[in-house]
Every structure is written in structure tokens, then in C-alpha cells.
Amino acid sequence: MARTPHLLLVGHGMVGQHFLQTLTRRGGAHRITVLAEEPRPAYDRVHLTSLFSGTTERELSLWEEEFGRQHGIDLRLGDPATAIDREARTVTTRSGAVAGYDTLVLATGSRPFVPPVEGRDTPGCFVYRTVEDVMAVRARARHATAGVVVGGGLLGLEAAGALHAMGLATHVVEFAPRLMAAQVDDGGGSALRRRVEQLGVVVHTGVAARGVEAGEDGTVHRVTLTDGTVIDCGLVVFSAGVRPRDDLARACGLPVGERGGVVVDKGCRTADPAVYAIGECALTSDGKVHGLVAPGYSMAEAAAGRITEESGEFTGSYPAASLKLLGVDVAGFGDAHATGDDALEVTYADSRADVYKKLLLTPDGRLLGGVLVGDTSAYDVLRPLAAAGAPLTSPPEALLFPGGDASGAPSGPAGLPDEALICSCHHVTKATICAAVSEQGCTDVRAVKRCTHAGTGCGSCTGLLTKLVESTLSRSGVAVATGLCEHFPQTRPELYEIVRTHGVTTFSRLIDEHGNGGDGCEVCKPTVASILASLNPRLGNSVHILDGEQAALQDTNDHFLANLQRNGSYSVVPRIPAGEITPEGLITIGEIARDFGLYTKITGGQRIDMFGATVDQLPHIWRRLVDAGFESGHAYGKALRTVKSCVGTDWCRFGVQDSVALAIELELRYRGLRSPHKIKAAVSGCARECAEARGKDFGVIATSAGWNLYVGGNGGMTPRHADLLIADADHDTLVRTIDRFLMFYIGTADRLERTAPWIERMEGGLDHLRSVIVDDALGICADLDALMARHVDTYEDEWRATLEDPERLRRFASFVNAPGTPDPTVRFVTERGQIRPAPVLLPVPEPAVAR
């Protein structure tokens, strides 16, 4: 009987994990063991810096326990391989364990290069490669006022962004004459430098660090540079490039390159046919060590292909990167440094905005490469054009200014040549994608992804891919598929119906039974969360949106039951129904704002917003609000916000009905009702319409005979007056009609669709709506009524419920790993007697980052 071959993977980084996924997807019949050095499974190293802006370690993780169980993967964390015996086909680990293999895959990655600077081992010196590194830098930064980053490349600037965001006076020391020397030219480098300097980061180019000096406490005290500059600082981050980790291979006699890297062939196989090397530790057949994630993924796929079916090749990759560093968009692709007669430059520079764009072309008009600083919007189209090496079809200056170009020439995916590489991870060309649509019948992005694998690597091409698929579909006359996202072919209303009629109570069941499996995405997770929240009373679920699996589905605002603001702090809005508030209530809010140092502002919805709270303050603030009788205002949720009112008959000389009392009743009735988008409402006491009810999703205006109900109004970017649905209704008819209107909307609108576009989109429009919810043409009114009754009965205040439950409260620690420590990136200054966010730009890496 054939023994199941044993595959041993050494290293569990991004490339290693991608290898596992590819291998298991291809159905390789292996027993798999993974030896990992780090104490945690593979995570998204590209976005390490996002740990400083609120991303959790959990969110960075690329590993699912379920994946490991399903494929029987033996993942051994914190026990790196220390030796390979190729004769015996065994690997020894640090703990002394010995693992045999039939096939060995090395994915050991690279190590940071620390230049030989005197004192580089002084406590307070760091590298920037792992989660542990980030944690250590963060801990040290709390006690430092200035920091030096050695290295002005991509990684160095990212580290500098992290130090800057933590409020340190930040210096970048780069030996080359410009920043990001590998990716940009002099012009781009200087535009980048000016932008970085405007943030307050001090840039030293053309110099090296000479020494690190320790202070009396034995830790970093100052750094001297080769030009004699002395920088007093509390920490140093070395970020001057990486070197392939080829020691294991070297020690067991496998050939390695002169400058490092395990030598592999096109199939990523080393000189030993049983041993493969992939990712940053490999020296590939094009003679290069590739440091970006996209070629690493390609190698993982090549190796997995070879191991499972003797096919799969890695012959090199097209150098390209687009990223955001210190808030500056930077992109480079192709040969950005080509010179001489064979390269003609087209350059655009705007020194006011520090925008710099350069294209390099051959004399016959082919794009060789380019540099974009400050505005990288052209990158999506330029990269595949350059990679294809085909003659340009539109003038280059038009390509530099997508959308806003002065020449009117076509741009976007339609202008790309057929051989343009759209997905560099999987080498998928435009022609292949177009063929998937026109010949293989793919009708949406999801199908194209499944068919071609495009967009399933690093994901950076998804935007371009979507545009291309849509334009191809519309050219071929196919209706564009309306599925929610790649995980669900259904629309939101269809999913709502499935949840309602099948009684599906969890996201995982919904995606397994009705979607295409997987983990979901940023589109479907919050959408399903909202559907579940709307239907929880009917499903018998806990109505609390942070309970069980639901918590992980929520977006950031719902996650903390507060509104995230631009500097990483949160705002708090208690419900003030119809804007009616007692003096005691005002005093309570005032005292809380004073005690917690919050900025206060009256909102457009007749309530009071308190800004500047940190996550860990939220429960304390709410404890006092709840004790004083306040409830959540759901300002953070896709839910009913406010029912605004005018003063009404009690006080106003013109009022014909008691608008305040009705507004309070409606606001309390619909509070906490989760919906496809926010819902705003108002009640005016007479035709003067002081509450601006016709600008709301539903608005009520008093008449001498009763109430007029208007629906589908909207303010914002596309204002629309609400339309009259029923006139002169009595109280009960009014409330019943609103009940049905809201429940019908929740059941049938698309995600993030306000009532105004929902009605406009509806076949038959307002008349159809009236026939459904007034005349019950579809026979669903009883059901709509019952749904609303369940909602009203089961409503509970989310904040009160949160405060009563220690489990729910635990998520409000500022850092999951350091409870009680306020978020150090949240800073304020004072203006007009109140606080406002300090002008700190958080580094927000784009998902498109490839490294």
C-alpha cells in the first residue's frame, strides 16, 4: 500500500501560507507539516504598520484553524528548523525534534540587513519585520520623543510613518542621494522628500549612520551621522533592506548565489529534486532574488504545480509597486531608470502639489516604465501597459492624467492592449479575461476570478479587473451580474428573503449553504450583519449585534458602538428623541464632556455629539449616560438615526398638531432598527415645515385633518424631496404605513441604498409602493406588520446590554494586548476653547501594496 508522502514546509510567512493554499486547492495528496519560527501563524506582513492605526493582530492573520484542520496540517509554531539532512531526508528543529520529509519546501524568507554601525546592538535599536518588532518599537516609543530610521527605502519610510504617527520627532537617514532610490528617480525622489518633510519628518540623504551612543541607562541616547550631524533620540529602527535567509540550504550543501539566495530552477526546485525554495529566500532562474509578495506568490504556485502535477513555472516578474507611505502615494513600475537614446521621457511636475509623474518610452512608442509620486491614479492602467510592452494607443500625456486628461483620448482598461498583464500574481492577460467573459460565459467578476484565477493572489488588481469585466460585459451586451460580491451570487434582497424564509441564523451557515463558502469580505459581512440584525427578533437570535459570530461581521463603527473619527478617536451620541431634553440631561452631558475632555457639538439631527473619546473611555462614558437614562443614538449604525421635530402646538403659534409628541413616539418605536442604510425622519407641526421633513427618508407634516406622510427624501450629495404617500391620515394609519414602508424597504433595498434611490429604482415607483403597503397588492402586509411588532417588542439598548456583560466590555481595551493603555496615536490640540484632532496623518497602507 502506498504511503501518503510527507511534505515539510519550513517557514510560515505569506508565501508559505500561499503555498499551502495553492497546494491544497490543487488537491495534492500529502501529509503536511509546517515548521514556523515565529510564535504566531502566517500574517499579512505587508500591512504590519496598520497595527498602529487600529488593525488587530487577528485581522492581519492569514491562518484559519479550520483550514489547518480540514487539510490535516501540523503547524508547529515557535520551533524553527535548524538543520537539514538531505541524505536521511530529515529536518531538525530548535527543540531537537526531527521531522522526515519526502518533499521539502523552504520558505524561510529574509532577514533585515543591519548595516555595520557602531553601537547597533544598543538597547533601543530595532528592526521592523515582525509583529514582535512592531510591539517592541511601540513599547519603546512611549518613552521616547525622537526616533531615527536608518534606511529611506520602502520599508524605512513605512517605519518612519509609524514613528511619526506615534508622535515622535522622526528622522530618516538614507545613504543614497534620494528616498526610495530603487523605485523612483531624482525628480520623484525630491517630490516625495518635500511631501515627507511637510509632515515634519526630517530627511537626511547621502549620509550614513556612523554610530549609536548609549545614555546613562545603557539604552539609545543619540545617533551620529557620517556628515557629523548628531541626533538626540530614544530609538533607532534599522530598515536598510533585507537579505535572503539561505543558511539552512547553505549548511546542507545546496548551491546558493554569490549574494545569497537558494538557487532554484523554473519550477522553484533546488539542486536536490526533493527540495524546493520559494519566496524571498530563493534565487530564481532569472538570476534575481525577488523581494515583493507578488513574485513570491507566483513561486508558491509554480512549486505547488510542480509538486502536484509536474507543471508550473516561475520565470521572473515585472517590477511594480504602488503604495501609500506617510500619506504619500508612490508608484514605480518597469525600468524607471532607463536612460540614453533608447528611452524618451515624458515628465509632468507640479511643485505646488509636489506631484511628479514620469513615463519612459522607446522611440517607437512602447512604455518602458514610470514613476508616479503624489498622484498614482494612472498606475492601474500604466502598469499592465508597460508590462505588455506593446505600443501605446493613446498619447502618453493622456495616460498621465486619467479622467482629467486634456486631450480627451480614451483611457482605462478599454485602452489596454490584449497582451496587457492584468494580474501579475497569476500572469493573466487582458485577452484571457475578455475571453472568459465572451467565450466562456463568465458574467461577473467572481466567475472570472474562478475561471482565470486573476485577482486571487495579492488582490491588488481587483479594481482594474472589475472595470475590465464590466466594460467587456457591457460591450458584449450582457447584463452585468448583480450579485452582492464574489461570495454571494444573490442580491441583498434575495439574501434577506433567504434569511427570513429559511431561518438562517448565522453568517457561516448562509455562506456555506447559499454562498460559495469561504470567509466573506468587507462587502458581504456587514451586509449580512445588517440583515441578521434586522431579522434577529424574528429569528430568535440574540438581538445584540456584538454577540457571538455577529461581532466579527460588523464594521469599525458598529464594532465599538461609536463613530470612528479622523484621528482614530471616537464620537459618542446618546439618543435625544425628537430633540427634547431635560435640563438634567443637558447637565449630565455637559459634565461628562467636561470630565472626559470631549469636544461637543449640536448635530444636524437635534442631538449632541461628543468627540474625542478613546476606545477604552467609551464604557465609562456610557456608564454615566445609561445611569442618567440615556440610550444609544445608533449614530454609528445603519439604522434609524433621529426623528427631528419642530416645536409643535404646545409652544408654537402656528402648529396644528403636536409634532414633538409624535416624533418622540416614532423615534422610540423605530430606534435600533437595522436597515440597508441609515434612516432619517422628521415631523413638522404645520405646513411651514420647520423640521424639513421632506428632506428625510420619511417625513410627516401635520394637516388640520391629520398627517401627511412623505417618503424617499434625501439630503446629502443628491438631494431629493420626499413624495406624498398618503394624505390626512389618522395616527394609527400613519404609524402602520410607516411600519410597512420601513420593513418593505429593509427587505428589498440593495446594500447601502437609501430610500430615495430605492423608490426611484422600483418598477412602478411610488404608485407601486403605495399598492404594496397601503393596498396590500402582494399580500405581505400582515408579515411586515408582524416583523415590526417583533422589533418593537424585543428592542434593548445596546449600550446598557454591553455594560452589563463583561465579555462584551472586553473589546473596549484600546489595545487587545495591553488593556488599560490608551491608544498613543490619538492626539489633540485646543481650538476655540475645545479640543480638536492634532494634525497627524496616520499611515494608511493601501490594499494594493505589493512587496
Binding site: L344, E345, V346, T347, Y348, A349, D350, S351, R352, A353, L361, P363, G365, P396, E397, F401, G404, A406, S407
Partner: protein, 395 residues
């Protein structure tokens, strides 16, 4: 009403003089004024700005003539003295003439650089007059190696004009580099590429010596390098011709100092064009000279006795063969920001210099299709808001 002068003597018969005469006589009733131009050159007024182009035969030298509106033009008649008290002038031929108003339009003369050693007796040329053009064109016809000394607009123009297959043209720059008064580094680089594309070799220079005794036999550069050339053109700028004014006791700085009404420091004496210094600036370009001629004509004709000369923004336009350059205002400056678009394929370079949102300078090299719009925007100090790119495109 002031009396208008009857007898008006204009010293010089160049572009400013001709424009003044034509404009004044058009504004004066027949017989109302007698205008006499005294020109040292043997020919009547012509358009000096087109001399470089005429070197290549476009336009033909015979097409350069300018009208003087029926004024008396005394060619080959150099004025050697002026008595501003007596209001008389004297010519080289000994003639003395009385005037009611005197207009100095003596123009400028080329600067001959101070080189080591004497200049060779033949093969060294200037290009200021029609006669210079004729001599240079003749000499260049058979020359195989040419050196142009000076990197200003004239030197660049001459080098480009003389460049043709089979002829080795060298351009040696002076202290201000390649058109450094008008162009930023990027613009200069674009011009350099255009010159090199036409076969001109550009040297940082400067030239320190012309070799040869009877004829030019080569040139020596400051860095010790030698150029094997047989023809040299000196294009090292011009200086206002002010000897006469100085002799007459007028106030002279770089040029003849005039006020906004173009009056010099003695009653009845005025100065216009390349010899005049207005508000501390000697403009040295035809458009400014014509503006001054128009203002003075309006004043002296009585059509607008109070006409004044405004400050005038610098402007440069060079067009020789395919080499097109336009520079406006603070074209070589940085302003508070600049927007630049350069395309090596067509050899185009376009740059706007801004102060806040106002365009205060511009450079166009290669494609000057936007010259009208850009010139207007710079002249009026208009803002472009977000439309800098569109303006650069000329679209």
C-alpha cells in the same frame, strides 16, 4: 493746449525709429510735422529681429524692410554731436540741423568679448546689421566648421540657423549658460536637446581665445579644450549705444535715462528702444521698443499728450527652423510653485511659474501652440486655478 513740435529729428533708423515715425505721421495732419531719421547704416529701416531667420533665407533679406510713414530717411548719416541747449545736431558729414524735438533711437551695439590675444583678422563675425548678415551668410556658405560664441537667444538662433548636414557647428556658452536669462534648467535642457538633434555640439565654454592670425584657425575653451573651427560668430550680447547721449550731457546709466513720458534729462530730448533705460530697465527687445515708440508718437503728435509707458514684462520669442522658444515674465524663476510638462519625444517642454494662483512666468520650447494664451495669462497675471495642465497643452 501744448504746442506740438514741428521739426522732429530721430537719431537712428532702426525698428524703434521707423515705428515712431510712421505712428507720429499717421497721427499728425499732413504738413503738421517734419520727421527726419538719421541712420548710420547704408539702408533704410528693417526688421532686425528677423535677421537670424534671414540667415537661412527665410525671410529673404529683401523682405525685411519697414515703413517709416513718409518720414525723411537719411541713410549712411551718422549723428556725431547734439547741442541740447541750441537744439541742433551735427552729422559726420558736417551738416548741422536744427530740431524742435529730438528722439534718440540709437539702438544697441554688439559686445565683443574680452578674449586673450588679438582677434584673427578674418573669419570673425557679428550679427547685428543687415550687412553683418550678408557677410556671415557668404562666409558660412563654404564653412565646414563653425563656432558660435555665446549661449543667449542670438547665439542659440545663429547656431541653429547655421546647422545643416555636413557642417560642424559648435556653440560655446558663456557665464549664464544656455539662455539662462530666460529659461530654467529644464527649458535649457530641452533647447539643448533640440540643438543637439540638429547637429549642434554644445560646450559649457567659455571661449577664452580665438586661434589664428590672418584667419580663424581654432578656438580654446576655458577648460583647455580646443575646437578646430574656421569661422567664429560672436554673439555675446549687446549694450545700449549711448556715446552721443553722454557727449550731449544727458543723464545716462546703462541706457539713456527716460521717464514714463520717455523724456530724457534735457528739454525736447527723448529716447526710445534699445538705447533707452526706463524705470531702471533696458529692455532690448522689439515689442518694448514699439510700445515706447507708440507712446512717444502719441505724446508728440498731441493725440494723447499724457500717454505714459508702463512697466513691461520680459518676453522672448525665438523661432529658427524647427527650434521654437517662447519665454514670458519670470520664466527662469521658481515663483511659489511651477507646473511642468516635458515630452522628449516631440522635444517639447512647457512650464508655468506661479505665485499663488497667478501665472507670472512661462516657458514653451518645441511646441509653442499655446503662446498666445500663455502670453495673455502672464501679461494679465491671471490665475489658472486647476487648469494649469490644460493651459500647458494649449487645448
Amino acid at each position: 493746449m501744448r504746442d506740438t513740435p514741428r521739426r522732429i529729428a530721430v537719431v537712428g533708423a532702426g525698428m524703434a525709429a521707423a515705428r515712431f515715425a510712421a505712428r507720429l505721421l499717421a497721427l499728425t495732419p499732413p504738413g503738421g510735422a517734419e520727421v527726419t531719421l538719421y541712420g548710420a547704416e547704408p539702408c533704410g529701416p528693417y526688421n532686425r529681429a528677423l535677421l537670424v531667420g534671414a540667415l537661412r533665407g527665410r525671410p529673404a533679406p529683401g523682405e525685411l524692410g519697414l515703413p517709416a510713414g513718409g518720414a525723411t530717411v537719411r541713410t549712411g548719416t551718422e549723428v556725431v554731436a547734439v547741442d541740447v541747449a541750441a537744439r541742433t545736431l551735427r552729422t559726420a558729414r558736417g551738416l548741422t540741423a536744427a530740431y524742435d524735438a529730438l528722439v534718440l533711437a540709437t539702438g544697441a551695439e554688439p559686445v565683443v568679448p574680452a578674449l586673450r590675444g588679438p582677434l584673427p583678422r578674418a573669419g570673425v563675425h557679428l550679427l547685428r546689421t543687415l550687412a553683418d548678415r550678408g557677410r556671415l551668410a557668404d562666409a558660412a556658405r563654404d564653412a565646414r566648421t563653425v563656432l558660435v560664441v555665446g549661449g543667449g537667444a542670438l547665439g542659440v538662433g545663429v547656431a541653429r540657423a547655421l546647422a545643416r548636414p555636413g557642417v560642424e557647428v559648435h556653440l560655446a556658452l558663456g557665464a549664464s549658460g544656455l539662455m539662462g536669462r530666460h529659461l530654467d534648467a529644464g527649458g535649457a535642457a530641452a533647447v539643448r536637446r533640440a540643438l543637439e538633434g540638429a547637429g549642434v555640439t554644445v560646450h559649457a565654454g567659455p571661449v577664452v581665445r580665438l586661434l589664428g592670425d590672418a584667419r580663424v584657425a581654432g578656438a580654446e575653451l576655458a577648460d583647455g579644450g580646443r575646437l578646430d573651427v574656421r569661422l567664429a560668430v560672436l554673439a555675446c550680447g549687446v549694450r545700449p549705444r549711448v556715446a552721443l547721449a553722454r557727449q550731449a550731457g544727458l543723464s545716462v546709466a546703462s541706457g539713456v535715462v527716460v521717464d514714463d513720458g520717455l523724456a530724457a534729462s534735457a528739454p525736447g530730448v527723448h529716447a526710445i528702444g534699445d538705447c533707452a533705460e526706463h524705470r531702471g530697465v533696458v529692455h532690448g527687445r522689439a515689442e518694448a521698443a514699439w510700445d515706447q515708440a507708440d507712446v512717444l508718437a502719441a505724446r508728440l503728435s498731441g493725440a494723447d499728450p499724457d500717454a505714459l509707458c508702463a512697466a513691461s514684462a520680459p518676453y522672448l520669442r525665438l523661432s529658427v527652423g524647427e527650434l521654437e522658444v517662447a519665454a514670458f515674465g519670470e520664466s527662469a524663476g521658481e515663483g511659489t510653485g511651477a507646473v511642468m510638462l516635458s515630452d522628449a519625444r516631440g522635444g517639447t517642454y512647457r512650464r508655468l511659474v506661479l505665485r499663488g494662483e497667478a501665472v507670472v512666468g512661462a516657458v514653451l520650447v518645441g511646441d509653442v501652440g499655446a503662446v498666445g494664451d500663455v502670453g495673455r495669462v502672464v501679461e494679465w497675471g491671471e490665475g489658472v486655478e486647476g487648469d494649469a495642465v490644460r493651459l500647458l497643452w494649449g487645448g
